[in-house]
Every structure is written in structure tokens, then in C-alpha cells.
């Protein structure tokens, strides 16, 4: 039993932390995050050079990490700096490639890790509401490969992506776990239309319409109709990443709130001397430490072979971070008072991010229900 990170991971965390603090301060971040492209290709490139993307993938595939704790360390640091670069897409698409890619398909990994490719998982659909097996987009085999038609919802950086991993139904009913297949689709494919927009918490996303998009036979990732397991795996990595990111963000929100309580005076004394607020902060502290433990549990579980154990730990973590992230966001704003609601205060952007993370890859209700359902099969 050992709760210390390896020397390598600590160095990576330090490097990232330093880079984010120096180069990705909140003003830069907000300019980038709420700007035209919602991220900065130049900074993204620099993250790549620091090895932050490579750390998400195993050495066998050209990375230098890829374990659960590597991913947690990177995303925690990103969360601390509210980094909006397209790490999540890179992680999920990249891990799908690692798990199921042919040698040719894996060639994408190098450009992903090099920061020259923006990747996106195009899976959610207008009616899916976190349900992983809900896929109505159709892929029909033809002599050139596959013809894709359908609609994808809230695809992160879908309007910037060079490479999309698209889930489509090759057989089965609309919400059947069987019959899902995954396809690698270039962002500039003919027939692919994009409606991009900014996100509440910065960064961008897009509604994507696929109208008879023709891809080659080599676009299929993994076996046809068997995409569900691969999708779950990729999304599992995404869940871990979002949890770690939320942890990083809530640490900053907590710290900022604490500092405010220590310095802000009302009725002649620091408001942190009021016991009711002290006890609320004590509750926040305990919850944040529980959230930290949930991330550790998820990071340890992600490499676990037993699906039920692994997915239960992931759902437990996403439930935990969703619930606590929202709590920390609300308490941080409330304890700051009016100033906590201003655009100017970095805290408000942390709060928005924390709440919005609960809307990505399944919210607390979704993952609580999933945790229960997985438990039934124990």
C-alpha cells in the first residue's frame, strides 16, 4: 500500500503545474476558452511538447505512461488550471486506438501525441441522455466501405476536430448493446456538417450531422457490431479523466474560498471566524477528501480486468465527483457572496466547470443508477 506517486509522475505534475501557472493564467485561459476556437492550437502544441498528451498512452504505443494514475495526474493538473485544450477527446479516441487499432489506424496516435491532431469522440446523440447503448446513427456497408448517416450531439470540439471517432449502429435496435460499431472519420469528410458553438464553461462543442458520409473499410475500429465494449472502455478513460479534472478544479475552488474567508472582513472580523461558515468549510474539506479517494479508486480500477469491479469504481467516482463538484461550486459561490458570481473572479469559472463536468459522460443520477445496476450482477 502506497499513496505516493512515482518520481516520474510527480515530475510530470510539477512540470504541468508550472507551465499552466506561467503560460495558462486565468486571463489567457478565458480569452482562449471563450474565443472563436475555444482552445489554443499553439498552447496545445506546447502541452504536447511537454509530454502531457504522451503521458496518457502506454509506451508500447509510443507514449510514456497510460496507467490510471498517469491519466489522473495529468487531468488533475489540467483541472487546477481550468485548461480547455482538447485532452479529453485525445484520451478517449487514443485509448480506443490503443485497444483496438490496426497498425495503420494506430498511426494516428503519433499525431495525437504530437499535438497536431485534434480528436473527438462523436457518440452522444440528441436523444441519448447519457445512455451509452443508444445509437441511431446508421452505418451501412457498401463496396467502398461504410456509409454513415445520423446526428451526433454536443461533440467536444467537434467543429475543430481533425479526427472523429463516430459510433454507429450496424445492427440491432436503437438502444441495443449489440450492433454498435465505431468508425474513424476525418473532420473534413464530405457529407459531414457541423454546427459549432461555445460552451457555458468555455471551450467549444458541435452538433454534427452525417449525411451519407462515405468512409473506407479501414475506417472501422475493432470488430463490427462489437463496438459497445470498446466504447465503454474509451468512455471509462474519459470518466476517470473528468473525475481527476474535477478534483483539480475543486481543490482550487476550495483554496480560493478559504483565502476569501481568511481575508474578507464583515462586522469587523474575518468572515472565516464565523462558526457556521467554519463548519460548512469543514464539510467541504471532508467531501473533497472523499472525492480525492474516489479518484484514486477509479485510477486504480481502470486497469482492472474484471469489468464489473472496474465499471463500478468508475461510476462510483463519477457519481461522487458529480455530487461533490456541484456542492463545492455552490458552496464556493455562496461563501464568496456576490463577488463569487462575477466573471472577473476566477472562482466563478471553476464553479461553472465543476457543474458542467456533471453533464459530461453521465451525471450523478446516471452513475448512481449504473452503480446499482452493475451491483445486481454481483
Amino acid at each position: 500500500m502506497n499513496f505516493e506517486h512515482t518520481e516520474d509522475r510527480r515530475m510530470l505534475a510539477d512540470t504541468l503545474h508550472r507551465f499552466v501557472t506561467e503560460q495558462y493564467g486565468i486571463e489567457t485561459r478565458n480569452t482562449v476558452a471563450y474565443g472563436e476556437t475555444g482552445h489554443s492550437p499553439a498552447l496545445w502544441q506546447q502541452f504536447a511538447e511537454l509530454g502531457a498528451i504522451g503521458a496518457l498512452f502506454p509506451e508500447a504505443d509510443g507514449g510514456f505512461g497510460g496507467a490510471g494514475f498517469d491519466i489522473a495526474v495529468v487531468f488533475e493538473a489540467l483541472g487546477q488550471g481550468l485548461v480547455v485544450e482538447p485532452f479529453l477527446g485525445a484520451l478517449m479516441v487514443g485509448q480506443a486506438l490503443v485497444a483496438a487499432g490496426t497498425a495503420a489506424q494506430k498511426a494516428h496516435l503519433a499525431s495525437l501525441m504530437g499535438g497536431s491532431t485534434v480528436a473527438a469522440l462523436a457518440h452522444d446523440e440528441p436523444g441519448s441522455h447519457y445512455q451509452l447503448a443508444y445509437v441511431t446513427t446508421q452505418a451501412i456497408a457498401n463496396d467502398k466501405g461504410w456509409l454513415l448517416t445520423g446526428q451526433k450531439a454536443v461533440v467536444l470540439f467537434g467543429d475543430q476536430a481533425d479526427l472523429l471517432l463516430v459510433s454507429a449502429r450496424t445492427s440491432g435496435a436503437v438502444d441495443s448493446e449489440a450492433g454498435i460499431s465505431l468508425f474513424l472519420v476525418p473532420g473534413n469528410a464530405v457529407g459531414l456538417a457541423c454546427r459549432g458553438y461555445g460552451r457555458m464553461d468555455g471551450g467549444r462543442a458541435a452538433e454534427i450531422t452525417l449525411s451519407n458520409v462515405q468512409v473506407g473499410a479501414d475506417a472501422l475500429l475493432g470488430a463490427p457490431n462489437q463496438g459497445m465494449a470498446l466504447l465503454e472502455r474509451a468512455v471509462g478513460y474519459g470518466i476517470l479523466a473528468l473525475c481527476a479534472e474535477a478534483l483539480g478544479a475543486m481543490d482550487v475552488a476550495k483554496k480560493s474560498t478559504l483565502e476569501y474567508l481568511q481575508t474578507r472582513k464583515q462586522f469587523g472580523k474575518p468572515i472565516g471566524s464565523f462558526q457556521a461558515l467554519q463548519h460548512r468549510m469543514a464539510d467541504v474539506l471532508i467531501e473533497v477528501e472523499q472525492a480525492r479517494s474516489a479518484v484514486i479508486n477509479a485510477a486504480a480500477a481502470i486497469d482492472e480486468d474484471d469489468r464489473i469491479q472496474r465499471e463500478r469504481a468508475l461510476s462510483a467516482a463519477k457519481y461522487t465527483l458529480g455530487r461533490i463538484g456541484t456542492l463545492v461550486a455552490q458552496e464556493s459561490i455562496q461563501l464568496h457572496g456576490g463577488i463569487g458570481m462575477t466573471w472577473e473572479l476566477p472562482l466563478s469559472h471553476y464553479a461553472k466547470r465543476l457543474v458542467m463536468i456533471d453533464h459530461q459522460l453521465g451525471d450523478e443520477d446516471h452513475h448512481l443508477a449504473r452503480f446499482m445496476a452493475l451491483g445486481q450482477s454481483l
Binding site: 454536443v154 454546427r195 452538433e207 456541484t326 458570481m341 458542467m356 453533464h359 443520477d365 443508477a369
Partner: protein, 398 residues
């Protein structure tokens, strides 16, 4: 014990409903129901419509232009307005300054300012809060120094809601620096167009511009604009804060939000079923619905006590806390119901949904922004923590 309204009160409700059906512009109620931001024109229009009917200053005495309503009628009116999608009345002139002038203003002030509030000629904003003061309103630092026929005002106010539309601001200013915190404060009316008044917008986390900072640099204010006596302003300020709180629970808004939530939960599907049948979501909805059903009665009990000659006082703190908790929970649930579609933020969609096809369900356009915007409910108007202090002291005797 009878929870029914009297036939007279029910008749009044029908009258209000008819009025709203006939007079409330669909353009405006549509925006309100969609949680969109209103323009100054929207608000001016609604003001004019109410005033034409004599219902604008609806808690003023008849002699000053009020309709002569009691607490129950006021409650019915507020509730029906909220249900119909009527905009919230901007309270600063009519609900805050008005009562202060009526009670403490001199004859000239009353005859000059009150009609202008009614007509909408003046748009008032509030100069109470100062940076670093928060809920400690008495720590006023803005100074007013008498020089002949004027006060010279210097200092800064903040959280001035809709100050960008206002031409007038009422301010708490310090006229005696030697006195203890709550003494030495005066209540002053300032024309925003006076040289030295500068307004800077505060952008809130949802990207909205609703509140402002107001800076005063050697602003000359005629002594005629002092309300009541010099250094007695805190008395008037407190009166203003405790006046007219029966609407504080916001029950009408919550009922409207619950209706909206139910429509959404019937429409949005998860796992092949409407969200209204998802066990966890349905339980959240049922819990807040029950809490609201209870709150309706709690609110009516307080109103009945007021109508029966009681004083709402600290009970309004209770209504404020639970009322805002319920409203915030409903806004959370509307946000939750949007799933991934809570993420998109399309600026235009905050004002109108005419422009383009919506991203996701149409309710998604404002769901997250409103959730964040209305975190203010538990902060403004005396934070919920301050309200608990009041309850502890005034009701519990702790």
C-alpha cells in the same frame, strides 16, 4: 381553519387572470417563460400596462395612487403574474424608495417623485451595497459633505441592479464620520446624469450584464434631495429592507418553474422512458414539489397573519430561505434534465429564440445560464446566512 380563498378573493383572481390574458404581451411572457433576458423596452412596456390599470404601485396607499389591496390580494396578483409569465417588477422605485418617501419624505418630495415613479419617468436604482461590505450594510464609506446648498458625494456603490437603465439612484451616504457605524448615515437621492457619476458594468458568470458599480467623484447633490433628517438614514434604510416581504418566498415563480420542469421531464427521455419516470429524477421532482406545496401554505399562513394585523418580521427570513432554496432546486433540476445539452451556450438564445433552430431541446438554451444566474437568490436581499442569524436572534432567542 379554511384554506380556501373567499369568493371575493377568487373573483379578484379571475379579474387578474383576465387582465393578464388581455394585456400581457405574448412577446414578453414568452421570454419570461423561456428564462430569457428582458430588454429595457420590455420592462418599460409592462410598467406602462400595469400603471394604466392602476396596479403598478400595488401596495401604496390609495391617496398616492395605490389600488388599496391587502396582503392576500397582493399575493394573488404576484402569483398569477408569475404563472402567466409576467416580468418581475423592478422594485427599486416602486417597492423600495416609494414606501420610504411616503413615510419619511416631505410634501415636496412626495408630490414630485412619487408620480414620476408611477409614470416611469424616473428609473430608480439602489445605492446601498459597497465593495467589501456585503451583508454588513451599515459599514457605509461613501461620504456626503454639506457645502452650502449641496452635498458633495464621493465613494463607490456596487451590485447596482439594472443601473444601466436608471436615471436616478437612492444612496446611503455617510454624513458624520465620527458617529458609530449605524449613525451618521443619510439617505440621498442622486441624479445619475450629474457630473462625477460613473457607471461600470459588472459581468456575471453567466455572461450577463445586470449589475453595476457606480462611482461618485465630487458629485453635487442639492440638499433638497436629502430624505428625512441628516444622519437618520439608517432608520429609513431598515424600514425599506423590512417593508413588504410577503412576496419574498417567490411561490408564484416556483409554481411556474415546476410546471416548466414537468413539461420538460415528460418530454426528455432517458433509457426509453420520460425523465419523469426515472426513479432518481422523479424522486427529486417529487421532493421539491412536496416542499413547495408545504411552502405555499407556510407563505399563506404568514400572509394571513399580516392580513390579520400581525407583523411579518423575522418570519419573512424563513420564507426567504426556503423560498430561494426551492427556486434554486427547481432551476437545478431544469439544468439536470438537459443532460449534455446544458453545455452549449449560445449568446443570442439568451435574448430570443427567433434566430435559429435551437441546440437540443429549446429549454436547454437558458437552463445552465439561469441556474448560475439565480445562485444570486441565496446571496442578494440579505444572504441566507444573514437570514439564519436573524431567525436565531429574533425567533429563537439565541
Amino acid at each position: 381553519m379554511d384554506l380556501h380563498f373567499t369568493p371575493d378573493e377568487e373573483a379578484f383572481r379571475t379579474e387578474v387572470q383576465t387582465f393578464l390574458q388581455e394585456k400581457l404581451p405574448a412577446r414578453i411572457s414568452h421570454k419570461v417563460k423561456a428564462g430569457q433576458r428582458l430588454s429595457k423596452q420590455d420592462q418599460d412596456d409592462w410598467h406602462a400596462i400595469l400603471n394604466a390599470r392602476g396596479w403598478y404601485a400595488n401596495h401604496w396607499p390609495v391617496q398616492y395612487g395605490g389600488p388599496g389591496w391587502g396582503a392576500v390580494q397582493k399575493f394573488i396578483f404576484d402569483t398569477e403574474c408569475a404563472l402567466a409569465g409576467g416580468p418581475r417588477i423592478v422594485p427599486f422605485g416602486v417597492n423600495m424608495l416609494g414606501p420610504v418617501l411616503i413615510k419619511f419624505g416631505n410634501a415636496a418630495q412626495k408630490s414630485y417623485w412619487l408620480p414620476r415613479i408611477l409614470s416611469g419617468e424616473d428609473w430608480w436604482c439602489q445605492g446601498y451595497s459597497e465593495p467589501g461590505a456585503g451583508s454588513d450594510l451599515a459599514s457605509v464609506k461613501t461620504t456626503a459633505v454639506r457645502q452650502g446648498g449641496h452635498y458633495i458625494v464621493n465613494g463607490q456603490k456596487t451590485w447596482t441592479t439594472q443601473g444601466q437603465h436608471a436615471n436616478m439612484i437612492f444612496c446611503l451616504v455617510r454624513t458624520n464620520r465620527e458617529a458609530r457605524a449605524q449613525e451618521g448615515i443619510s439617505f440621498l437621492l442622486v441624479d445619475m446624469n450629474t457630473p462625477g457619476v460613473e457607471l461600470r458594468p459588472i459581468r456575471t458568470l453567466d455572461g450577463d450584464h445586470e449589475v453595476n458599480e457606480v462611482f461618485f467623484t465630487d458629485v453635487k447633490v442639492p440638499v433638497e434631495n436629502l430624505v428625512g433628517e441628516e444622519n437618520k438614514g439608517w432608520t429609513y434604510a431598515k424600514y425599506l429592507l423590512t417593508y413588504e416581504r410577503t412576496g419574498i418566498a417567490g411561490v408564484g415563480f416556483s409554481v411556474a418553474a415546476l410546471e416548466k420542469l414537468k413539461v420538460i421531464a415528460a418530454k426528455v427521455h432517458k433509457n426509453g422512458k420520460p425523465l419523469a419516470q426515472d426513479p432518481q429524477f422523479a424522486a427529486r421532482m417529487a421532493k421539491v414539489e412536496i416542499d413547495l406545496e408545504n411552502m405555499k401554505t407556510t407563505n399563506l399562513r404568514v400572509i394571513a397573519a399580516v392580513a390579520g394585523g400581525g407583523v411579518p418580521g423575522a418570519e419573512s427570513s424563513m420564507l426567504k430561505i426556503r423560498g430561494t432554496e426551492i427556486r434554486q432546486e427547481l432551476l437545478s433540476l431544469i439544468r439536470r434534465a438537459m443532460g449534455p445539452y446544458a453545455l452549449p451556450f449560445v449568446e443570442e438564445a439568451q435574448y430570443t429564440d427567433d434566430s435559429a433552430t435551437p441546440v437540443g431541446p429549446k429549454e436547454a438554451a437558458t437552463a445552465a445560464a439561469n441556474y448560475f444566474n439565480y445562485r444570486k437568490l441565496s446571496i442578494f436581499g440579505g444572504s441566507n446566512e444573514i437570514q439564519k442569524n436573524i431567525i436565531a436572534k429574533m425567533i429563537l432567542g439565541l
